[in-house]
Symmetry: C2
Subunit: 349 residues, 2 copies
DNA sequence: AACGTCTATTGTAACGTTGCAAACCGTGGT
DNA sequence: ACCACGGTTTGCAACGTTACAATAGACGTT
């Protein structure tokens, strides 16, 4: 219950008066403000002895730099915005991804700031807001589309960003992507091993770039293994249960229905399972469902389903690396990373 | 593909040179900087005619106030931080909640900023960081505990905050809570209607305050309806599938096992269903599971389960109201809202 | 002893905003 | 014609920081 338990010692000092500034520290140390600023920024022009003395005094006084002043002066925020659509995203998804980014950014002074897009009417509002009010130095987003308006906007304004997934734009930009072609090949292989002959992909909306990769990879895999492949019209990713239901009923109306399904998300897998169940088809018997797993939730589906993991922590780490590279002006070719189910490798190399 | 499609007209003007400031606008309008500042802040001291003229010029030039400068000058951020634990929270949960807060804050100039706690080693780090760096004017968090360290810290430092859920502290603080006693009474009633005689609550961890409310409400309801009640040792909310499994196996070892379960979250419901299934018990036959529903995900559980909704959008709206009240210094008694399954009413009234 | 050279530190000026005290100006009362 | 008085507007200063140019001092060279 005592204050002590919740406070660091620097904080308790800070409590007494108004917050110490560079001026306070400078006065205490008997040096100029500039010197303190430099000393705390580890500027090599400051002698090691004074640097140490000053940083001790700063600690003792509980000095914390004023972010607003730093931002005003430098124009930089030291913040990275992660855009999410709270209607779509599982936080369990975001958790690993965030953790990875956090790891990758630790020690750099950058903070991660989650921003909800899609609260206003226009999805770009959130991004415009960030840019116009300088709320972040860079932006990250997922569910990248072939002709993504967010990416386009940011490219046009030369605002640093990294996407999870690729676009079809001619102008190259930094990205980190999961190799969905490899994923779907692996998935088909697994289903074939279980004796399945006719695979169907529960496709995400066509607008998502990775849908194209899935389609392509699945064609390849189906050829290789000599199995039938059905790629029905797109269903909105992680949503639209009615559409999935309609699609499945359509497929199972005739004589040549799929005997296995590949889902790209856990929610769509859950919906698929429910629909199949409603049609009297049991997972593991008449059909098999395989899902990309990004959270532990699919462990609790019954009957159990097949899963293939996407390492989102590694994705987050890669994201951080690319982000820092982008902000320090590295060439874009070095900032495009494709993560294989097996491990990472750079597209350029 | 053209720029026009993605830009507002104010933005394109802004593009040409460096960003316009108050000085720019003042020069253009032939008035003092202060006048522009006041005009744009709708200060009554500025004549309506000049106010209008200035704001037109500001629009034309694409003037956007510099947030960093405002923050430095005023010490206020106009930001509210929503703390979330990405390991626990569904974003589908957060979506409605966020939307409600957004509605409640629209027009006030406040922005919502989602911050992940629990990325560092100490949960309080995130909050300390916000306070020390003045990253927000107020903090909101969920999953409030009886002796919540976050609430304690913020109370000690007199930092504005609102909790989702109550604490057991003597010092009153603003909160918005769902009436879980009412919820559990309703839940028991529903299960009794289905002919169930022995209800079990899959309890959240004891540290959460709402666990106490559940326990109390369930006792009342069980008495009223004359059914058996089992309240086993706590299980961590939305997690620890092994613990749930062990608990259920324990309960179903003897002759007097529950025939129905109340779950406070959808993930715990899913886990419970999986465990029951693994024991050969089918939902809707040997047992019934009822869950509090905060997202559409439970619609896809098969067999279907009973649900009772918590209106998270209304919760978010209430949150915003309380938040604004807290920041404008309203008395704390007016800032404690308990939302019934039926509708809202203030604790104080 | 004067000179240049290097290192460590200093002082000044901004970044863009808002609060405060002062000034302006047309109006109306005396 | 003077003064007081609203309603408007202005100028100055400051928030806390960092960039830049300038300075002070130490040291080796000529």
């Amino acid at each position: 219950m005592s204050r002590k338990t919740l406070e660091t010692k620097a904080e308790s000092a800070e409590e007494t008066a108004s917050r110490p500034t560079l001026r306070t520290v400078a006065a205490e140390a008997g040096v100029a403000v500039t010197t303190v600023s430099r000393a705390l920024a580890d500027d090599p022009r400051i002698a090691e002895s004074t640097r140490k003395r000053i940083s001790e005094i700063a600690d003792r006084l509980g000095y914390v730099p004023n972010r607003a002043a730093q931002r005003l002066r430098t124009g930089r925020t030291k913040v990275i915005s992660l855009l999410i659509n709270p209607r779509h995203e599982f936080l369990s998804f975001t958790s690993e991804f965030l953790g990875g980014m956090y790891e990758g950014l630790s020690g750099t002074g950058y903070a991660i700031n989650i921003t909800a897009d899609s609260l206003g009417e226009d999805r770009l509002d959130a991004i415009r807001n960030i840019r116009r009010h300088s709320l972040a130095d860079a932006i990250v987003f997922t569910r990248t589309e072939c002709f993504d308006d967010r990416a386009r906007y940011l490219l046009e304004h030369d605002f640093p960003f990294v996407t999870h997934g690729r676009t079809d734009f001619m102008t190259p930009h930094p990205f980190v992507d999961f190799d969905n072609e490899a994923f779907v090949r692996l998935a088909v292989e697994r289903l074939v091993e279980k004796g399945r002959q006719h695979v169907c992909i529960v496709m995400p909306n066509e607008k998502y770039t990775f849908g194209q990769h899935l389609r392509f990879g699945a064609r390849q895999a189906a050829m290789t293994h000599g199995v039938r492949l059905t790629v029905p019209g797109a269903v909105d990713l992680d949503s639209e249960p009615d559409e999935i239901a309609a699609m499945l009923r359509g497929l199972h109306g005739g004589p040549d229905a799929p005997d296995s399904y590949i889902c790209v998300g856990e929610v769509s897998a859950l919906i698929t399972l429910a629909c199949l169940n409603d049609m009297g088809l049991t997972q593991g018997q008449e059909v098999d469902v395989l899902a990309k797993r990004a959270s532990p939730i699919s462990n609790h589906f019954r009957p159990r389903i097949e899963t293939i993991d996407e390492d989102l922590r590694a994705t987050g780490r890669a994201m951080a690396k690319v982000l820092l590279g982008r902000m320090s002006g590295e060439p874009v070719e070095d900032l495009q990373i494709l993560l294989k189910p097996e491990g990472p490798f750079s597209v350029s190399s």
